[in-house]
């Protein structure tokens, strides 16, 4: 079987957009809507017959042509995918680890730009996910809610007047939406302001987690900020709340970058050029070091210190240096040592094509 496009290319087409809004700090925006069908047990309690009926019904909406306005769509049953393909799709955030590993009767409707991923039989029957480059949560919500409307014309949702859209997990009930932005905050980390800001953010009903890492010291200085509350606030309130908080974080990060640069220019420049040197030459590169040094390069790009690079290459490297992707690129079954060598090799060659 030919390797599918979404497994072969690390960079999703939707990410390949130059000059997205506030992309110096926000890498991407995401909206996820959770829905369930009325009268069907949630996936966890579903029999195989239930699960396949749910999948047929929801895939049927795509087959009916009603989603055609969204561009070219592909329908994929999870059973068609190898473990490695699933891993790569998780690394690209096209599917959740839950859908990849635990779903029964799991299926996916994926747009060719990979900006729309509709998961079936995940924790809930239906999870509509829309992604956008940069800081665009309002626009992303507009796209997602339209897709939700199309499904609702065709299927009956589990909806309750008091509790709203009913979901398997009580943390999603109500609106069923999770809105998130992936932010790159190196200057707030370097200047030691990050913990203070993250604490403040969690106090206004938002959650922050490090991406590819743990807690407040996220590897690669990447943080995902998302709404925690789904019940008792309207979608507009949830989005507006996150919008305003993220906007302030963007401004703080920019101010911290400016100050860092003004006060310590030689040091900052040295750190960035060193990372470039190491990434261009190293033979062994573990994922932690790669993430940290790629973060330095990204900061360099936005401080105007890395004219030879751009966000596009860095976004590609972010995904391409993950374990699953390296296996796709360099052959199956690698041990961690092989992987660190392959990672170094991939980064070297990618940076070389740029100079």
């Amino acid at each position: 079987m030919a390797i599918r496009k979404y497994v072969k290319h690390a960079l999703s087409e939707w990410m390949d957009a130059a000059g997205a809004t506030d992309s110096d700090v926000v890498i991407s925006s995401r909206v996820r809507i959770a829905r369930n069908l009325r009268g069907m047990p949630f996936p966890m309690m579903a029999t195989p017959a239930h699960s396949s009926a749910v999948a047929d019904q929801l895939l049927g909406v795509a087959e009916s042509g009603r989603l055609n306005g969204l561009g070219k769509l592909e329908q994929i049953r999870l059973t068609e995918l190898t473990e490695l393909e699933k891993l790569v799709m998780v690394e690209k955030h096209l599917i959740s680890p839950n859908l990849a590993n635990e779903s029964r009767g799991g299926a996916l409707i994926l747009s060719s730009k990979e900006d729309i991923s509709i998961m079936i039989n995940e924790e809930d029957h239906l999870r509509i996910q829309c992604l956008s480059p940069g800081f665009q949560i309002r626009e992303t919500w507009d796209r997602a809610t339209k897709i939700d409307d199309i499904f609702e014309e065709q299927v009956d949702y589990a909806f309750d007047e008091k509790h709203g859209y009913l979901t398997s997990c009580p943390t999603n009930v109500g609106t069923g939406i999770r809105v998130s932005v992936m932010m790159h905050l190196p200057a707030l980390v370097m200047t030691g302001q990050i913990n203070r800001i993250l604490t403040a953010v969690t106090q206004v009903g938002l959650a922050v987690r490090g991406l590819y890492g743990e807690g407040s010291e996220a590897t690669g200085n990447l943080f995902q900020v998302s709404n925690q509350i789904t019940l008792g606030q309207s979608e507009q309130e949830i989005i507006e709340n996150l919008y305003q908080v993220a906007k302030q974080m963007i401004e703080h990060e920019r101010a911290a970058r400016g100050k860092l640069f003004a006060d310590n220019r030689p040091r900052v420049e040295d750190r960035i050029r060193r990372s470039y040197g190491v990434l261009s030459q190293a033979i062994i590169m573990d994922s932690k070091e790669a993430a940290q040094r790629l973060s330095d390069l990204r900061l360099g790009v936005h401080l105007g210190l890395m004219p030879e690079l751009n966000d596009r290459t860095l976004n590609e490297l972010l995904v391409a240096t993950q374990p699953g992707f390296l296996q796709i690129t360099y052959g199956e079954a690698m041990n961690p040592d092989d992987r660190d060598r392959s990672r170094a090799q991939f980064i070297r060659s990618r940076l070389a094509t740029h100079s």
């Binding site: 949630f42 590993n101 997990c169 609106t175 606030q233 961690p336």
Partner: protein, 171 residues
């Protein structure tokens, strides 16, 4: 770098933990991480939101009294999930569980969301009644405003519209 736990396999996972301001670093291999119950990015293992919820629920059902036992035995008549199961895994089995466990639900929702009532989007078909109800609420507010402005004629029009909608709902 070797795994700090077994000292045999190479360390592929690197954790930084900050507990009460004290930072510890941990470099371990995947199998030791699994044993230690550490969160492995991209997998479902480790601590999750569901553990957290079941923690909250345990707190409610942990009373040894007859009440607690009775609660735990409540069973959803559609999917068969018991309250005890729900409080263990933190997820409902079907939409009917919300009705079945209703009594116990609001305190939990209050703690998770600070609220118990949905105010967001309403589906066009399934939410017909609620849409009408919200429209009536909106019109009533509007009518009140017009009365305050002494615009009685247009307030009367709104009153008639509200009556129509209320009739639709009861009919």
């Amino acid at each position: 770098m070797q795994c700090q736990e077994c000292g045999k396999r190479p360390a592929t996972l690197h954790f930084t933990k900050i507990v009460n301001g004290e930072k510890t670093e941990l470099h371990i291999c995947e199998s030791c991480a699994r044993e230690k119950g550490e969160l492995i990015p991209g997998t479902q293992s480790g601590f999750s939101i569901h553990n957290l919820i079941s923690g909250l629920l345990d707190f409610e059902t942990s009373g040894a009294g007859a009440m607690a036992k009775q609660q735990a035995a409540i069973k959803c008549e559609i999917c068969g999930m018991t309250y005890a199961q729900f409080s263990k895994i933190g997820r409902f089995g079907c939409s009917h569980c919300y009705k079945q466990f209703a009594e116990r639900l609001d305190p939990l929702l209050k703690r998770v969301h600070g609220n118990t009532v949905h105010v967001g989007k309403v589906p066009k078909r399934a939410g017909g009644r609620l849409r009408t109800k919200r429209e009536i609420d909106r019109l009533k507010k509007e009518m009140q405003g017009r009365i305050e402005r002494e615009d009685f004629e247009s307030a009367a029009q709104l009153r008639d519209r509200i009556r129509e909608l209320e009739k639709d709902m009861s009919g």
